[in-house]
């Protein structure tokens, strides 16, 4: 099963490397949203709650793009039938897709977080280490599992473009609360990590619940 998952993952990453459809679009989108926030808030630099909120809302909105593109190649070029005809365990498919999304998100954040520090963030980002990468990592696990589940749920729906953001964003509210609250003290002037354990615990619990649910129900999606 792991072998099958790795094969699908390799295919997805290769496709992404060749076509560059998801990650560059997501990165471009985040920078555009920073510009929008700059004008919308009419602020040159942000810190604390505002900075953490802008960063996380932007990342979640960029994740929506990644999620709606997750099965795009299969759908547009008809590969999904071949994939489903092959004796591929659905769990392997879920693992591959969630891992692909996880890698996209990590790649995106390598661009989006420094860009945020450069364009909008007031305090220096160096004070946010090593806590921020841990928060990003935990949030990405949750985003990847919920994202893979939602994109598989929406793959058969006619109103796909509508269903993905409407379904994904409310599901991500607990994740946003955990991630934004944990990040907020790190982006303040007097950088200190307060209540970090509580919110990391929340993110961890969220990840565990949704990985398990996705693994349990994924068998019933993408049938025939």
């Amino acid at each position: 099963m792991i072998g099958v998952a790795l094969t699908i993952l390799r295919k997805d990453l290769l496709l992404e490397l060749r076509t560059k459809e998801s990650v560059p679009a997501m990165a471009l989108f985040t920078v555009t949203v920073y510009v929008l926030f700059h004008f919308g808030l009419d602020r040159d630099s942000l810190d604390g709650e505002l900075a953490s909120g802008v960063l996380w809302v932007t990342l979640l909105l960029a994740a929506v793009i990644g999620v709606s593109r997750l099965f795009a190649a299969e759908r547009e070029q008809g590969g999904i039938d071949a994939l489903l005809l092959a004796p591929v365990d659905r769990t392997a498919l879920f693992l591959a897709k969630a891992t692909a999304l996880f890698i996209y998100l990590m790649a995106l954040e390598l661009v989006a977080v420094p860009a945020f520090a450069l364009l909008l963030l007031g305090p220096d980002l160096s004070g946010a280490f090593p806590e921020l990468p841990v928060i990003l990592l935990l949030a990405n696990v949750g985003l990847a599992s919920v994202g893979a589940l939602v994109s598989a749920l929406a793959v058969e729906a006619r109103a796909r473009e509508l269903v993905v953001p409407l379904l994904l964003l409310p599901l991500l509210v607990p994740l946003l609360i955990g991630a934004a609250s944990a990040t907020e003290p790190l982006l303040r002037g007097d950088q200190s990590a307060e209540d970090l354990g509580r919110f990391l615990g929340l993110l961890g619990a969220y990840d565990a619940v949704f990985v398990l649910i996705a693994l349990a129900v994924f068998d019933f999606l993408l049938d025939d």
Binding site: R158, L166, V173, S181, Y206, I213, F220, L221
Partner: protein
């Protein structure tokens, strides 16, 4: 098959609702702090509890559907979620009225229970576009069930998260039912919960029976048309 027991159930629902309303207006003492407006509590809280119960029940029925493969369980799950969404609209409306009366604003963000409820309600509203944009009936039932299960599990984790994020200002009724409610209020509250639950179950059964009947009618029409041609 779904209409069995609807008559006694409806009578019981109407009777308990009448008793509950009578208790609310004539028996329960007026709140010393908030006065008359506090009585909306006997509508708001039971509706919220029953709506959340309905969402979770929808998830459990969806699990049954995926386990057994019987379409009737998907129908039950769908109708439970449908009824809960309608109740949920009522919860948000009465919550806003109560908030306006006791805090002076139609919406207060530092009230975790109401905010969590809004998030849950928004999520469940996507059930309709998801369900009705899938054409194949088998697939529609399966995907809807997967949604119902994921959303059902989301309900508790969302309440936990919002509570962690906000200050504790909402009157926490459930955990304190035995604690701070005086006897008359508690009795009225419990009767109100019973009334809303019975109402929910009655409406759920009625809607199921009507859906079942219209599906059968459609099937018969199709057969008639096939026979005529």
């Amino acid at each position: 098959m779904y209409s069995k027991g609807i008559r006694p159930l409806s009578i019981a629902a109407v009777a308990t609702t009448v008793v509950a309303l009578a208790l609310v207006f004539f028996y329960a003492p007026e709140d010393a702090d908030q006065g008359f407006i506090q009585k909306i509590f006997y509508v708001h809280v039971p509706m919220a509890i029953v709506a959340l119960g309905g969402f979770v029940a929808g998830g459990i029925m969806a699990i049954k559907h995926l386990r057994t493969g019987e379409r009737s369980w998907d129908m039950r799950s769908y109708v439970a979620i449908h009824m809960s969404i309608i109740l949920g609209a009522g919860v948000l409306a009465t919550g806003a009225i109560w908030a306006k009366a006791s805090w002076g604003h139609w919406w207060v963000w530092d009230e975790p229970v109401l905010v969590s409820f809004l998030v849950v309600w928004l999520l469940y509203c996507v059930y309709y576009p998801l369900r009705y944009s899938i054409e194949d009936p088998d697939r529609q039932a399966r995907y809807s069930s997967v949604f119902a299960i994921a959303a059902g599990a989301f309900v508790p984790i969302n309440f936990l998260a919002v509570r962690l994020a906000e200050a504790y200002t909402h009157p926490r009724v459930l955990s304190q039912t035995g604690g701070n409610l005086p006897g008359e209020m508690r009795l009225t509250f419990l009767v109100s919960i019973l009334a809303v639950t019975l109402l929910f179950v009655t409406l759920w059964k009625l809607e199921l029976a009507s859906k079942h009947a219209s599906m059968q009618l459609k099937r018969l029409r199709r057969r008639l048309e096939a026979a005529a041609t």
